[in-house]
């Protein structure tokens, strides 16, 4: 058993020996598109023309990975791609693991390093509040129209002008009615421009509150999305009024992260416009399967009302997304569909994108919405809060859509205003120094133990080294992230692993002093020290579990290594050393003296 665990530990800790290559990764921007050999060859030969060294290129349908030999080449290559490729591609720096195939086939991968040790990606997102304001103004206008109609007041003009609403009245007498109407709208100030014209503005408070609410909701959504990425110790924090910062340590796949985080995807459910309603102002045209489909402008519901979404497969094995709506959404869906059985309902996928254009020679980022129909199906019966979307292209698209819907829509669209990799040189220095000093400390401990406990010290040393191997392999198997506090956990564990052996050995010495025979002293030493060791380790384990429960990212990292270390050290310090001791002394009948 002991050997089984140890060899498992050795195998699964091995991937950590192979340092990863700096690499550049290219993926498609949208969920569609795939790399065929021709595209790959073209990108590759272009890079070769620039005389940038890259050692190896790998690709699958989703992405291409260019491995380089050093960080300088990596940066050069990234710059080259940024200049030469259009905005259909996402280009990201990456660290490509060098795990040999035979280890990969055993599912053995290296452990991830935290932002503080390897550097890491840092995103800064900013909420586009203009769009938020526009939406608010639009809904205010439709409300105001209704109120004014009730007051039988017909304004000459009522329209959005920049970040305010412009109102023009026919006669000045109507002013009283107007201010009465405005009062019932919360959060607006009415300003008189001249005898008949007025301007309606959002109050400063309302604006602030609105943005605050939207950013808080976005923070939540982004947290969910990042969590969906399955990265441990991500940091998603608010930064100032409109910004959200995301740190992703140890991310293997930056491009994927950026794709999921940055996507402002939403769904719109709309009815197909019946032929009798042909007012151009009430319909939108979208292409679908080679023809134009007229949809009503009015939404039934949007993705915000989705409470859960999961991927499933229909009878024919095609991917589908099963959707659950919240109660309000379910009611709306029911109301709209019960009178329209036989009409078609479209599901629109709304994506916010940006492109860079040269305007007067200055590059400027332009944001736009791209809407496309992903499903158009006849309503068979009144729908309620549970239904499904079919007609998706691939399982990947289905799972991405489900993920985005599940993680929630962003209350305000967000743009990447900064994408930074936090000091790779600093991270590299940190890990180098951390490991160097850890090794030095370990070396000192090992020397001391041999000096003090002779043969037994040697056995304990072997146990300590194996313990580190086991911690590393356990962390690799759990794909946990090693951070600076994580190293702290390991340091503490080294101390404690030695401690267990010190307890046992000093007990053996004591028993020898009490004139026990060497064999008896050994078993008495192990038996009596066992309770103490378990008590001591168990209490520390409890501390670690509590820390994990109440702590955040970095503290959790510490708690994880500490817990793993405690468990593995009990194994190595008690079982392994005992086995070794018996192996050396157990078979001899008479032992004169123990080398302890």
């Amino acid at each position: 058993m002991v050997f089984g665990v140890l060899s498992l530990g050795v195998v699964y800790s091995m991937p950590n020996i192979f340092p990863p290559d700096p690499a550049v990764q290219i993926t498609f921007n949208s969920s569609g598109g795939s790399f065929n050999d021709r595209v790959v060859e073209k990108i590759k030969s272009n890079a070769e023309k620039e005389k940038i060294n890259f050692s190896f290129v790998e690709n699958d349908e989703k992405s291409i990975l260019f491995r380089t030999n050093n960080y300088d080449d990596q940066i050069k290559l990234k710059q080259h791609f940024e200049e030469s490729l259009d905005n259909n591609f996402v280009i990201a720096l990456n660290l490509a693991p060098n795990t040999p195939e035979w280890l990969k086939s055993l599912n053995a991968f290296p452990m991830k390093l935290g932002l503080d040790l390897r550097g890491g990606v840092h995103f800064l997102l900013e909420a586009d509040t203009d769009l938020l304001i526009e939406a608010k103004l639009e809904s205010a206008i439709s409300n105001l129209k209704r109120i004014l109609r009730d007051l039988s007041l017909k304004p000459r003009a009522l329209e959005i002008e920049n970040t305010s609403i412009f109102i023009s009245l026919n006669t000045q007498q109507d002013e009283e009615l107007l201010s009465e109407a405005v009062q019932s709208l919360n959060g607006f100030d009415l300003e008189s421009l001249n005898s008949s014209d007025y301007r309606l503005r959002l109050t400063e408070e309302e604006l602030e509150q609105m943005i605050d609410y939207a950013v808080l909701q976005n923070l939540n959504t982004l947290r969910n999305r990042v969590n969906e990425l399955g990265i441990s110790e991500p940091v998603v924090q608010r930064q100032g009024a409109k910004r959200i910062s995301i740190q992703l340590p140890g991310v293997q796949d930056t491009a994927e992260a950026k794709k999921i985080i940055g996507k402002t995807a939403n769904l719109e459910f709309r009815l197909e416009a019946a032929n009798r309603i042909s007012l151009a102002s009430r319909i939108d045209k979208f292409p679908f399967n080679g023809r134009d489909v007229n949809l009503e402008k009015r939404l039934i519901i949007s993705g915000d009302q989705v409470s859960d979404a999961s991927v499933g497969y229909d009878e024919n094995g095609f991917p589908q997304v099963n959707i659950s709506l919240d109660s309000e959404g379910g009611a709306k869906m029911h109301r709209s569909t019960r009178n329209n059985v036989g009409t078609k309902m479209a599901v629109l996928f709304v994506e916010r994108k940006s492109r860079t254009e040269l305007i007067n020679g200055i590059p400027e980022v332009i944001n736009f919405f791209e809407k496309r129909i992903i499903s158009l199906a006849t309503i068979q019966s009144a729908l309620a809060s549970q239904f499904r979307i079919t007609g998706l292209d691939s399982p990947e698209e289905a799972s991405e859509l489900a993920l985005l819907l599940r993680a929630g829509a962003l209350a305000a669209p967000m743009d990447f205003v900064e994408e930074g990799t936090i000091g790779p040189s600093l991270g590299a220095d940190n890990i180098k120094l951390g490991i160097q000093s850890l090794l030095l400390g370990l070396g000192l401990v090992l020397l001391f133990m041999i000096f003090y406990y002779k043969i037994f010290g040697l056995i304990a040393n072997l146990a300590v080294v194996l313990n580190i191997v086991l911690i590393v392999s356990a962390m690799s198997i759990l794909s946990a992230t090693l951070t600076l506090p994580g190293i702290a956990g390991i340091v503490l564990t080294i101390g404690m692993a030695v401690d267990a052996n010190v307890l046992i050995f000093s007990r053996i010495r004591e028993e020898l002093k009490n004139n026990l025979k060497p064999q008896d002293a050994i078993s008495a030493g192990y038996d009596r020290a066992l309770i103490t060791i378990i008590d001591a380790n168990l209490t520390t384990l409890i501390v670690a579990v509590i820390l994990y429960a109440v702590g955040t990212g970095p503290i959790q990292g510490f708690a994880i290594t500490l817990s793993i270390g405690i468990l593995t050290s009990m194994f190595t310090a008690i079982l392994f050393t005992r086995m070794m001791v018996y192996f050396i002394y157990g078979r001899r009948k008479e032992i004169e003296k123990l080398w302890i």
Binding site: D429, G434, S437, G495, D499
Partner: protein
């Protein structure tokens, strides 16, 4: 060497006085100097740069920051004469790091090694969480030791842990070292370490009390400590060896972390001897307190 009976408890009055003085200094310093909370807890901006050449004085950098209407900032060397860290607290007095870097670039030639900004809200959240974690850890420990040993031991262990935490906090406050997340983690590690030590000593005290029921408490405790002192010192020594290596060669980023652990391990070793055993004697622990109950016999048989 014969270490069977050292009079540890003879100097217990002196050590009590020492502990009280140390704790008093720590708490006084915490009130007067406060803790020098790092960016993780306060929020603000941090920039670490590596200049192309050494500079002898930071006055020029400070002057530049002042000219940007910043006043509450900190500029320090960070490991060498060309590594500089700049900290600007958040709030009204904050500045966009990029603007700051641009301004610095006009006068200096450097590489940005690290650049960070933490919002103030996040900081206070973290602080609360950290404090909560410490309290929860202490509370659950009490219950465990009460269950496994006895309430007098639990009280002793708690006092020892509080002692260690206060001393480390006091040390950081007294020398105004940066208290950041890694230091918090170190303090939590100290709790684990000190507890480990305490349990080991308590275990032996319990064993000796059970062996010789009639003997004097002070003698029993002295004997236990004498038996364990070798182990306690060796373990502390090996842990300190690793930590000192971390402190000297681990680089600036983990130096505070190592300092916290070093102080904590020393304090933890001391407290497991003097605070725990002192508490036991003060509470007049007797062998009756540790009579083997039936439940415990069962419990002891479990691995």
């Amino acid at each position: 060497m014969d270490l069977t009976n050292i009079g540890f408890m003879k100097i217990r009055r002196q050590t009590t006085v020492l502990s009280i003085i140390l704790i008093f200094i720590s708490i006084y310093s915490l009130f007067v100097n406060k803790l020098n909370f790092g960016l993780d807890f306060t929020g603000g901006s941090l920039i670490e740069i590596r200049l192309t050449e050494n500079i002898d004085s930071l006055e020029e950098v400070r002057g530049l920051l002042q000219s940007l209407n910043l006043n509450d900032f900190q500029v320090n060397y960070f490991g060498s004469n060309r590594d500089i860290s700049i900290k600007v607290p958040g709030g009204d007095n904050s500045i966009d790091e990029d603007v700051l870097i641009q301004n610095l670039k006009q006068d200096f030639d450097f590489e940005v090694r690290r650049q960070e900004f933490v919002g103030p809200q996040v900081g206070s959240e973290l602080r609360d969480q950290g404090g909560l974690g410490l309290l929860a850890a202490l509370a659950v420990m009490m219950v465990y030791i009460m269950f496994r040993f006895q309430y007098k031991f639990a009280l002793g262990a708690l006092l020892a842990l509080v002692h260690d935490v206060v001393i480390v906090l006091g040390f950081f406050s007294f020398f105004s070292l940066d208290f950041d997340l890694s230091v918090l983690a170190a303090i939590l590690a100290v709790i684990g370490y000190s507890l480990n030590d305490t349990i080991v000593v308590s275990d032996r005290v319990r064993e000796n009390f059970r062996k010789k029921r009639r003997s004097n408490s002070e003698i029993a405790i002295n004997r236990s400590l004498s038996q364990m002192i070798g182990r306690t010192l060796i373990t502390s020594l090996t842990t300190l060896l690793v930590l000192i290596a971390l402190l000297i060669f681990g680089g600036e980023t983990i130096s505070n972390f190592s300092i916290a652990l070093i102080v904590g391990v020393i304090s933890g070793t001391y407290s497991s001897i003097y605070i725990v055993c002192n508490t036991l004697l003060t509470l007049k622990v007797t062998s009756e307190d540790l009579m083997i109950r039936k439940t415990e016999v069962l419990d002891d048989g479990m691995p």
